[in-house]
Symmetry: C2
Subunit: 297 residues, 2 copies
């Protein structure tokens, strides 16, 4: 099957500690959260690597959705991440991460994946992003995400990927860090000057800010009293955005941003994918209407 | 004249330093910013104290608006505040403040002021707020503002004023400080339990969050590339909100919040009232429409 979206990123086993609880080796990874969220609206193919230790049940779980797993390679071991959150869900500390799994990862996209309408470069090393970019034909819309680590250690390569990325997702502190601009609107304009046509700044509990050639859009976050686990919020947000955009043939970016926000707001209500496993399209449409009511004037 | 709104607060001479510039003894004070903003929509009477040193030109400037100054008392000296901002406009340091002027201030509202539809208790000592509350009849809607200083030093009195305040304005960090709740929605609910029917949380560059019996509303801030001086942003916001509400007979709180945000966004574009002096009602309506376009989906 030719997917609407080809996503490249991590498939992980996460161990997560919060002040309230701890979970071990649950299904996670940037490509997984992205694909799950996008699968509410579109067909997604994942390219990534897992180890022989990767639980069969997680593959089964993913295959219950419109997620194609033909792009999964079995390498030496599965990517694992251990993180700890403080009382504030934005305070995240990485306790351990086996970066080498992804360092050695050489993504190869099938012909079908390469010709999908959307390519999503989930947060992995810009080196891997460039390898993907060298394979695709250029008729696709390319969206990407990154993280503070790559801004610190791989800025030159990251800027190179940005020249070819149409739609860039990054969070508030990363936007400031990347551009050395404290004002977020100025930071957004700088990022546009690096290449992307649209920049989508994730502000956590303060919502999303979008700047582009034809768009200036800002929405607050869904008011959340309980954030149990913020892992995957950014990736499920991006999945909701790109998944909805693909469904709408690239139209309705504003609605897409709200869909992404809605899915991310469900995601953080429990560890890993536990909440999203139970969330239906009707749940999403219901909270979308709540969002309308929240912001209308 | 009976004003629509009676505001009690400071009338000040401010000295302000920012990384770019410094101004001395410009017109400021919580009641002044509030009244100026409210005067776009309603008639406001100010109760407050000035000294014999208060410049005549500032009184003239205020009297060009629908602002009634009969409630101004001339005492020993004018309230002065000196503050310094960092690169981030939210980083404010008070360098000097003559708190004694307001400590000794015994607000007395005329019969007409007491019977105005709205009472606004701008940020001054809760002691003075209680003195005002003891004079009014109870048929008015009472709105109030506060600051970190009073939460630290006068919490008991502040909580006493809250029992009688219908609509409370405070900023994000103050809401957390007052309630010991890090989650802002939970903090808002706690504040409602202290008495107010509506709590309006100001989040600076992240907009406004409103929680109340019949309302859950959130909007982002107007995207501002240049904040020259953030002084008065909160008070001019409250003035816009209450001024518009008074014009609309208490209806349309959501629109009122946006009007307040629009006026505050103009306020910060220059020092003191310099920008607002030039802003017309048409400018406000224009930016209101920009706000609609910013947030619609």
């Amino acid at each position: 099957m030719k997917p609407d979206i080809a996503a490249v990123g991590s498939i992980a086993l996460d161990t997560i500690k919060t002040p309230q609880a701890e979970v071990q080796d649950i299904l996670g990874g940037s490509a997984v959260y992205f694909a799950w969220a996008a699968s509410y609206f579109s067909k997604v193919g994942i390219t990534g690597v897992i180890g022989p230790d990767f639980p069969e049940e997680y593959l089964k779980l993913l295959s219950t959705r419109s997620i194609n797993l033909d792009g999964l390679k079995v390498g030496d071991k599965t990517f694992r991440w251990t993180g700890e959150y403080g009382e504030n869900p934005d305070d995240r500390k990485t306790l351990s991460v086996c970066q080498d799994v992804l360092e050695n990862f050489n993504p190869e996209l099938s012909e079908e994946y390469c010709s999908s309408d959307y390519i999503f470069l989930a947060n992995i090393n810009p080196k891997s992003h460039l390898k993907v970019l060298s394979q695709i034909k250029g008729s696709n819309l390319v969206a990407g995400d990154t993280m503070d680590l790559w801004i610190e250690t791989e800025k030159t390569l990251l800027l190179k990927t940005l020249r070819r990325i149409d739609m860039m997702f990054l969070n508030e502190s990363e936007a400031r860090q990347l551009t050395n601009e404290s004002n977020l609107i100025k930071a957004g304009r700088s990022i546009l000057s690096y290449g992307p046509k649209t920049v989508i700044v994730k502000k956590g509990e303060n919502g999303v800010f979008v700047l582009g050639e034809d768009i200036l859009f800002s929405i607050p976050a869904y008011p959340q009293e309980t954030v149990r686990d913020a892992t995957g919020a950014g990736d499920s947000f991006a999945g909701g955005v790109i998944g909805f955009l693909a469904q709408e043939n690239g139209e309705n970016l504003r609605k897409a941003i709200v869909m992404g926000s809605v899915i991310a707001s469900f995601c953080v209500e429990d560890f890993g994918l536990r909440r999203l496993e139970k969330v239906t399209k009707e749940d999403i449409m219901g909270r979308f209407e709540e969002f309308r009511n929240l912001t209308r004037f």
